[in-house]
Symmetry: C2
Subunit: 404 residues, 2 copies
């Protein structure tokens, strides 16, 4: 049996696996080292009590035949879908139909699966640097050509760097799909409505689709959009992925949701318009059996008044870390981006090689960051620090960086 040949084209291992490997190797060589992790974007604050209560009540419902739940609705329970629509969209002036929202186990799962709806020769564009999942999932499906000198030959990179103040321009030529993530992972920067509008206009003009990842929207405190649908015309051209991972500390709980408006269409045989919503239903019905019932109950509790207040306490905690990382690094003389409406701070590394700076940080300060080069060619020369660790450890990490 011949295997999918595209796997062999992938460079090295998945970024975070490579980081974990280096950290493990270092820890093995120096078991006494107290390593502080500001690398992967994993939460550290406990879950909201309202969320845990809801999960336990749901678990108890599973104990009797009258209340136990088997297979749930394919695309999520009403109680969760309706809470999402009311809280995240209607309240912000965005109208969605019930069957335009799909519950899943992760924004990573959804944003890597969405490409299954595209033709095998669809042209893809990503902002650069970028969350590796959009790229790797398309590479595995054979859309990106070959990986040469750190770039995929058939991928359009939209550079985001200090020179353009991290405001990308829409592609010059035609692409079929553009992946955008704001607040951005990895740079922690955001775009205003006016800066997003050209992408929506481009998609209308070119018949392209935007995959918008809003996983970090809970960190927004400024007047920037929390949803692509706040931009006029976006509901015709954009899909949006969301997650409870960062909003509610669900990285270990696993729940997310994606929005596919009926109006978003691709071109089928003989040019026939095909609703991506209908295709996604077929895809999810065939390849997924829904999210755990107690997890969906827990997720719905996020939108109760006490659940939301508790979740936002954790978000504010991380935002205070972000502010501290940003201001301390600035005070040390680093050039720093992001970290205002986002849990990520993106700093210019003193030397151009970001893996070398990653290794230096690990070796000398016992601090784990994420090397920018791992996020794409324009990430070289930068490093990502996350605000998800404890306040104490974040402070300690900054102190050690200061003493580098």
């Amino acid at each position: 049996m011949n295997v999918n040949p595209n796997f062999e084209k992938l460079p090295g291992s998945y970024l975070f696996a490579e980081i974990a490997r280096r950290v493990k190797e270092f820890q093995a060589a120096d078991p006494a080292a107290d390593i502080l992790k500001l690398g992967i974007g994993d939460v550290t604050r406990p879950l909201a009590p309202a969320v845990v209560d809801a999960m336990k009540r749901a678990a108890d419902e599973m104990l009797s035949a009258g209340t136990m739940r088997g297979y749930g609705p394919d695309f999520g329970y009403d109680f969760l879908v309706n809470a999402i629509i009311a809280h995240d969209y209607t309240a912000r002036g965005v109208e969605l139909e019930f069957d335009e929202v799909f519950i899943s186990d992760g924004a990573k799962t959804d944003s890597s699966a969405i490409q299954e709806l595209f033709s095998s020769d669809a042209k893809i564009a990503v902002t650069d640097p970028v969350y590796p999942v959009y790229v790797d999932s398309n590479a595995m499906a054979g859309r990106l050509g070959e990986y040469k000198d750190g770039r995929w030959t058939n991928l359009t990179y939209l550079p985001c760097n200090a020179e353009n103040n991290f405001v990308p321009e829409p592609p010059r030529g035609h692409v079929d799909v553009i992946y955008l993530c704001y607040p951005n992972n990895p740079t922690g920067t955001t775009l205003t409505k006016e800066q997003l509008k050209p992408f929506v206009d481009y998609a209308h003009r070119e018949g392209a689709v935007i995959v918008y990842d809003a996983a970090y929207k809970a960190f927004i405190r400024s007047d920037v959009p929390r949803s692509i649908y706040e931009i006029d015309g976006a509901k015709d051209v954009a899909i949006e992925c969301n997650s409870f991972s960062k909003t509610a500390g669900f990285t270990g709980m696993r729940c997310a949701y994606s929005v596919l408006p009926h109006a978003v269409k691709g071109r089928g045989g003989n040019g026939r318009p095909m609703e991506l919503n209908a295709m996604w239903k077929r895809r999810m019905g065939t390849r997924f059996n829904g999210v755990s019932f107690p997890v969906q109950r827990a997720a719905a509790a996020v939108f109760t008044p006490e659940g939301w207040a508790q979740c936002m306490e954790a978000v504010e905690y991380y935002l205070r870390n972000a502010t501290m990382i940003r201001s301390e690094l600035l005070a040390m003389g680093y050039t720093v981006f992001g970290g205002i409406d986002a849990p990520y701070v993106w700093l210019k590394t003193p030397t151009a090689d970001s893996w070398a700076f990653f290794d230096e940080l690990l070796r000398k300060a016992h601090v784990v960051g994420t090397p920018g080069a791992g996020f794409g060619p324009s990430g070289e020369g930068y490093l990502r620090l996350t605000a998800f660790n404890t306040n104490e450890k974040t402070r300690e990490a900054l102190q050690r960086i200061k003493e580098l």
Copy 2:
């Protein structure tokens, strides 16, 4: 943007969605009808108390920073992987390495995703009738050609019917992948070691891979294998998908596991052998973020002595239903298969058209079965009844069928 053209080739909607549609339509027309569902294979018994306790304890761990869990290990927690290996494999004489077992949210998810590892022109064989997920997932990936007269032009069907006593023969020509599911969904039949051996031999001879779905193994009481790895040589050629859905009533909880032994290899570029295990790690690392921590704790509790005893009570309950369905239908004069080591009974329909018999059952007896034709060409003329309803409703359904 052009969409994936293979979606347009898919016939109608996913089988169970179509059944749900017909039932809903009938219920709307006759709201008073008390419909008894022996269609979809969903559990009705409550969860084991030991399982619920474990989930609640895990939920409580999420309440404090010292014990909360964020992202889990990519392929599952040690405590669950080790319990699976010890209970399901070592105890039955099958040796597995720790990193050959992968935890996921469903056997449906895994058995539909595994095809991503195969080349786009891999030749696929399925037993016929078949669980539609293997077929549809390959069809969406474009491997099956066109759907004409109820058959995919590039799919090898291995008929299982009364004529061969539901013992399929290996393909005559070359195929790259064979999907097998035993105890079988939909027929409820099993294969002995001697009947499985020719498939393992075929795979060795042809360089093919077997995808073995053992989701129903907990129902086995006879001396038939619970795992493909009980067959000599299978660890070189077979992947195995398993699930807690039927073993432990987890259809609403979502947890499963797949086994990919290191020895199972495909052919990469220049004929280089490629471990499917390594490819799956890359695939799962890129496209999945693990199963909910409390769900994994709940699943591990299935393997405790009290958890197992409680789960097996439910399995025995369903097996008693299966025995009753089987013997009552035989007494009514139906020709019946399966239902011995499985929760499914497969009956020959009085008339050749299985959707017509489905509709008749629904209309006259208010009983929902699953028409055999929905499972493939050789399913025509059969209907599946499941043993997952309550004992009382199963008895009532049989009484109504008797009065047809």
